[in-house]
């Protein structure tokens, strides 16, 4: 099953259309990146690490709150100080909350499946998982008091408007539906998206021969 490395997540916030800065990438098979964008109606989100596009990414939108959530997996991202870019191509009043963390044991060819967006019940989202997969969801809240009954992967800071933060939770796969849930005291929970992180494919792959 994929597992997040012990190294703490790197989290940050910024205002504007884009952000490009040197950040410390952990040593891991892949990097899981997540962010939430307030005022994200029309523009879509893109991100790179060391000028490389993510192996796979997914994003969803919740129009009632004008929030866009994004997640991406960068397989083989170089560790150490690297330029991390995230941005969009539209408004100048965007505010963001971002974070990333290393992940091992992940399928490096097809990092995730089961992508789901559901705007109707944003504090809980059901992900179809594989038994050796890991359900991972990205949540956007409006105050720094989001909690989860699952395992917290990372929690990004509240943006400069005090409006949104990104909170990522995970739960082991079961070979069926897994629910990821968030709780709050005062926040307005806004949008969850989720995926099934796939377990690393077995090494080799050729036919097995049995001696006679």
């Amino acid at each position: 099953m994929p597992s997040f490395v012990a190294a703490a997540a790197v989290t940050y916030t910024f205002d504007g259309e884009t952000n490009s800065a040197s950040r410390t990438i952990p040593a891991a098979a892949a990097v899981f990146f997540a962010c939430t964008l307030w005022h994200g109606t029309s523009p879509t989100i893109a991100a790179t690490i060391a000028a490389a596009a993510p192996t796979e990414s997914y994003q969803g939108f919740e129009a009632g709150q004008d929030v866009r959530n994004y997640l991406a997996v960068f397989v083989g991202a170089p560790s150490g100080a690297q330029t991390v870019f995230v941005g969009t191509s539209d408004f100048s009043v965007d505010s963001w909350s971002c974070g990333f963390r290393g992940v091992d044991g992940i399928d490096t060819v097809d990092p995730f499946d089961g992508q789901v967006t559901d705007t109707a019940s944003p504090d809980s989202i059901s992900v179809t998982t594989t038994a050796d997969g890991l359900a991972v969801g990205v949540q956007c809240g409006s105050n720094p008091d989001l909690g989860t009954s699952d395992t917290e992967v990372l929690e990004g800071p509240v943006d400069s408007n005090g409006a949104t933060m990104v909170a990522v939770a995970s739960a082991p796969g079961t070979g069926g539906a897994v629910s990821l849930d968030w709780t709050t005291v005062t926040s307005l929970i806004q949008l969850a998206i989720a995926v099934n992180l796939r377990h690393a494919a077995a090494a080799g792959g050729g036919p097995m021969f049995r001696g006679s």
């Binding site: 029309s42 989100i45 490389a52 192996t55 997914y58 129009a63 705007t119 179809t128």
Partner: protein
């Protein structure tokens, strides 16, 4: 036309941004103005369509639903199954109106669900979402 990209998928095995393939699920209204235009207006939700490369879906079937009401009464109004071809669906018969400019915190009169295909047949409009959710995965 005001467009909202409800879902966006990308794949890039090489890491070279020039090789990235993108697939999007988009809804649009029947007005010429952009979604963020400050002009007050009421429009009608007109289309749900897909664009880009189906390769980004990884050859996995996918259900796209427009629903109304919530909780036990949540009802499928529009269902589209994505597999090996693009979809372009007329939403005007649903009669869902949108009011602009949008106000943060005011939910839209519909919800969106996108997820792996459930069941062997395309979901049926005018049925309950809860019924759909318990269908076996195809």
């Amino acid at each position: 036309m005001a467009e909202i990209v409800m879902e966006r998928f990308t794949r890039c095995p090489t890491g070279n941004p020039a090789d990235e393939v993108v697939f999007e699920v988009v809804v649009a209204d029947d007005d010429a103005r952009r979604w963020d235009s400050p002009i007050a207006r009421t429009t009608t939700l007109a289309r749900l369509f897909t664009r880009g490369s189906l390769v980004a879906l990884g050859a996995r079937k996918r259900d796209i639903l427009i629903t109304t009401a919530r909780g036990a009464l949540r009802t499928i109004r529009l269902a589209a199954r994505l597999d090996a071809s693009h979809r372009d669906v007329d939403l005007t018969p649903l009669g869902i109106t949108l009011t602009f400019p949008m106000v943060r915190g005011v939910p839209l009169p519909f919800d969106f669900y996108g997820g792996p295909a459930q069941g062997v047949a395309e979901p049926t409009p005018a049925t309950l979402f809860d019924t759909y959710k318990v269908r076996a995965r195809a």
